[in-house]
C-alpha cells in the first residue's frame, strides 16, 4: 500500500504579542491507502494545528507555515496559495475534514440540502436535482431517518450527534482520498461517540478512504487505528502500530498516558497515575527535551542534549527518547 500523503518536517509558528509560539515544530508522518491513522496528544500539543496546516487553513496574520512539505497526489500542497484554485479544488474533494464542534460547524442560516449539495455542485459540478438526490442518499448512508424530509431542515433542528453525522456525510460526499477527523467525538456523549466511530469505520471500509483521527482519547484510537502517532509540545515523540504503542510503549510520556487511563483488563482498585506537571509553554522552549520537567526516567544526558530525534526501535516503532525505558520499568526512579 503506497503512501498517499506524506508530511515532511512541517513547522507552523504563530506570532503573538508574547512571543513566537512554535505550535508545530517539525513533524513528519505519512498516511497509506485504506489506513486509519491516529494522532494523539493532550490539548495544546499542536495536533489540530498540524492538520489545519495540511489543509492550509491556518489564519495567516498570526500563523505561518514556516517550513515543510506536504506531498499529496504527487504535489507539495504547501507550494500552493492557501486560498488559490488548487487548494480549493483539493479541499472537500480529495481531502476533507470533520470538525470537533457539530454545534458551530454548520452554517446556521442554510438548510441541510444547501450545505450538502454545495460541495457536490462545487466539486463534482452536479446540477441541482442530481445533487439533491445524492444528498438524500448520503443522509441515509449516515443513518439519518426520514432523510428526504430532513433535507429542508436547519442545523438547529438536529441534535449534536445528528449534526456530526451530517458533517460526516458532507465530508464523504465527493469521495475523498483522506478524511481528517479533528476530535470528531469529543463533544458528544459516549453512546453517540461509539455510533459515530462505527459509522466512520464503516465508511472507511466501504469506500477505501483513509482516515486521520486526531484525538486525545486513547480508547478511540486503540480500537480503530492501524498506526498511531503521539505528539507532545509540537513534535512527535512516538509512533508505531497500534500494537506497538499500546502493548509496548517506549516513551515516558506514552507510558504515562497509558498509566493514567483506566483499563478493563487491569484489576480494580489500582490507582491511576497521572503525569505530574503541566504541558510546557510553547514560547521560548529550551532546546532540551520538552518532557524533561515531568519525566520520571530522565538521566543526565537528557539535561545536556537537545530534544531527541525519533529513533527506530523495531519494525515501524519509533521513539524520541534517550532512555531505554524497558530497563527502567522494573525500577523506575521517583
Amino acid at each position: 500500500m503506497a503512501a498517499i500523503l506524506e508530511v515532511k518536517n512541517l513547522k507552523t509558528y504563530f506570532r503573538t504579542e508574547r512571543g513566537l509560539v512554535k505550535a508545530v515544530d517539525g513533524i513528519s508522518y505519512y498516511v497509506n491507502q485504506r489506513e486509519v491513522v491516529g494522532l494523539v496528544g493532550e490539548s495544546g500539543c499542536g495536533k489540530s494545528v498540524s492538520q489545519l496546516s495540511v489543509m492550509q487553513l491556518i489564519p495567516t496574520p498570526p500563523g505561518e507555515i514556516v517550513s515543510g512539505e506536504v506531498i499529496f497526489d504527487g504535489q507539495d500542497l504547501l507550494k500552493f496559495k492557501p486560498h488559490g484554485n488548487e487548494m480549493r479544488a483539493i479541499r472537500g474533494a480529495k481531502i476533507s475534514m470533520v470538525f470537533q464542534e457539530p454545534m458551530t460547524s454548520l452554517n446556521p442560516v442554510l438548510n441541510v440540502e444547501q450545505q450538502l449539495t454545495e460541495t457536490l455542485k462545487l466539486h463534482l459540478k452536479m446540477d441541482k436535482q442530481a445533487a439533491k438526490e445524492r444528498g438524500i442518499e448520503l443522509l441515509k448512508l449516515v443513518g439519518i431517518p426520514d432523510a428526504e424530509d430532513r433535507m429542508g431542515d436547519y442545523p438547529h433542528q438536529f441534535s449534536g450527534g445528528m449534526r456530526q453525522r451530517v458533517m460526516i456525510a458532507m465530508a464523504l460526499s465527493c469521495n475523498p482520498m483522506i478524511i481528517i477527523a479533528d476530535e470528531p467525538t469529543t463533544s458528544v456523549d459516549v453512546t453517540t461517540q461509539a455510533q459515530l466511530l462505527e459509522l466512520m469505520m464503516d465508511m472507511v471500509r466501504r469506500f477505501s478512504t483513509s482516515l486521520v483521527i486526531v484525538t486525545h482519547n486513547l480508547g478511540v484510537v486503540a480500537r480503530y487505528a492501524n498506526r498511531i502517532y503521539v505528539m507532545y509540545a509540537g513534535r512527535l515523540i512516538e509512533s508505531g502500530t497500534s500494537k506497538d504503542i499500546f502493548g509496548n510503549p517506549r516513551h515516558p510520556y506514552t507510558i504515562g498516558l497509558m498509566k493514567s487511563v483506566p483499563r478493563l483488563d487491569e484489576p480494580m482498585g489500582e490507582k491511576l497515575v497521572p503525569i505530574d506537571g503541566l504541558p510546557p509553554n510553547q514560547i521560548d522552549m529550551p532546546p532540551t527535551c520538552a518532557f524533561l520537567p515531568r519525566c520520571t526516567y530522565a538521566v543526565g544526558r537528557c539535561k545536556r542534549e537537545p530534544w531527541p530525534e525519533l529513533k527506530l526501535i523495531e519494525g515501524q516503532h519509533y521513539t524520541a527518547c534517550y532512555v531505554d525505558v524497558r530497563k527502567e520499568q522494573n525500577e523506575p526512579k521517583k
Partner: protein, 309 residues
C-alpha cells in the same frame, strides 16, 4: 459512485420533529411580541395610507384616502380649527391639513426607503470588503468612511443642495450618504467576528471561494443584526429629512412633507397647535414604529431562536 447500502448504522432514537413551516413560525413569533406587532401594524397602515392617498397612479385621480387635494388653496378658509369638514383644520393657505399629512407620508416613506437603500447597499459592500480582506484596503476604506462620518448630515445636505439643487431626489442621496458610514462600520464589525466562526472554517475546508464565503456564509448570518440597523436607520433618515425640510432645504412648499409642515405651523403654535403637532406626532410615531418593528422582525427571522417565544 458508491452504492446505496441496505443496512447502515442505526442512528440514535427519535422521529423527525413535528413539521411546521418556517412561515408559520415567523408569523407566530412576530405576533407574540405585542410591542413589535404594534410597530408592524402602524407601518402597514402607513404604507397603506401612502399608497392609497390618491389613486392617480392607478388611473383614478381624485379617489383615495385623502379627503382633499393637498395643494388646493382656499384663502377664505385659512387657519380654521379642526371641524367635521376638515378633521385637522386648515393651514395658513387654506389647504386641508389632514390631506397634507397623508401626502406627507409618501415623502417620508420614500426618503426612508431610498436613503436607507443607498446607505445599506454601499454600507454593506464597504463593510464586507473592509472586514473580510483587512490590511491596507481596510485602512483606506475606513479612513474615508471616518471622514464622511465627520460631516454633519445637515451640512452635507446643504452642500449637496447647493451643488446639485434641492428637491427630493438630492435629499435622498444626501441622507443616504450620511448614513453610509455608520452602516459600514457596523457591517465591518460583524464581518470581523463572523470571519472567525467554525462554519466559515468548515466552508473553507470544502473549498469555498472568498466571494462564496462572503455572500453565502457571512452576509446571511449578518442579516438579523442588519435588519435592526436598517429599521433604526429608516427612523433616522426620516428624522433627518424632517429636519432638512423644516429648515427649508428639503421639500420646498407647496410640497407636503411633515418637516416643512412643522415649520409652517410654528408661527401659530399658540393659536393653532395642531398645525405643528400633527406632523410632529406623525414623525415620532413612524420612527418609533420602525424601531419596534425592527426588533420584532429580527427575532422572527432568526432561525436560531427555534421558535422560542
Amino acid at each position: 459512485m458508491p452504492p446505496v447500502p441496505e443496512e447502515t448504522v442505526v442512528s440514535e432514537g427519535g422521529e423527525a420533529p413535528p413539521r411546521y413551516s418556517e412561515w408559520r413560525r415567523f408569523i407566530r413569533v412576530l405576533v407574540s411580541r405585542k410591542v413589535a406587532l404594534f410597530g408592524v401594524i402602524v407601518l402597514i397602515l402607513l404604507i397603506g395610507i401612502a399608497i392609497f392617498a390618491d389613486l392617480g397612479w392607478m388611473g383614478l385621480p381624485g379617489v383615495g384616502v385623502a379627503p382633499y387635494d393637498p395643494y388646493k388653496q382656499d384663502l377664505a378658509r385659512a387657519l380654521e380649527q379642526p371641524s367635521a369638514e376638515h378633521w385637522l383644520g386648515t393651514d395658513p393657505l387654506g389647504r386641508d391639513e389632514l390631506s397634507r399629512i397623508i401626502y406627507g407620508s409618501r415623502v417620508s416613506l420614500m426618503v426612508g426607503i431610498i436613503a436607507v437603500g443607498i446607505a445599506a447597499g454601499s454600507g454593506i459592500a464597504l463593510g464586507l470588503i473592509s472586514g473580510f480582506f483587512g490590511g491596507w484596503l481596510d485602512a483606506v476604506i475606513m479612513r474615508i468612511v471616518d471622514a464622511v462620518m465627520a460631516i454633519p448630515p445637515i451640512a452635507l445636505a446643504l452642500a449637496i443642495a447647493a451643488a446639485l439643487g434641492g428637491g427630493l431626489q438630492n435629499i435622498m442621496i444626501a441622507v443616504g450618504i450620511s448614513l453610509t458610514p455608520g452602516f459600514s462600520r457596523i457591517m465591518r464589525g460583524l464581518v470581523l467576528s463572523l470571519k472567525e466562526t467554525d462554519y466559515v472554517m468548515a466552508g473553507r475546508s470544502i473549498g469555498a471561494s472568498n466571494p462564496r464565503i462572503m455572500l453565502r456564509y457571512i452576509l446571511p448570518n449578518a442579516f438579523p443584526i442588519l435588519i435592526v440597523v436598517i429599521t433604526v436607520l429608516m427612523g433616522a433618515a426620516i428624522l433627518i429629512e424632517a429636519g432638512l425640510s423644516f429648515l427649508g432645504i428639503g421639500i420646498a412648499p407647496p410640497g407636503a412633507a411633515w418637516g416643512n409642515m412643522v415649520s409652517d405651523g410654528y408661527r401659530y403654535l399658540l393659536t393653532h397647535p395642531i398645525l405643528s403637532f400633527a406632523p410632529g406626532l406623525c414623525i415620532m410615531l413612524v420612527v418609533l414604529s420602525f424601531n419596534l418593528a425592527g426588533d420584532g422582525l429580527r427575532d422572527a427571522l432568526d432561525p436560531r431562536l427555534r421558535g422560542v417565544i
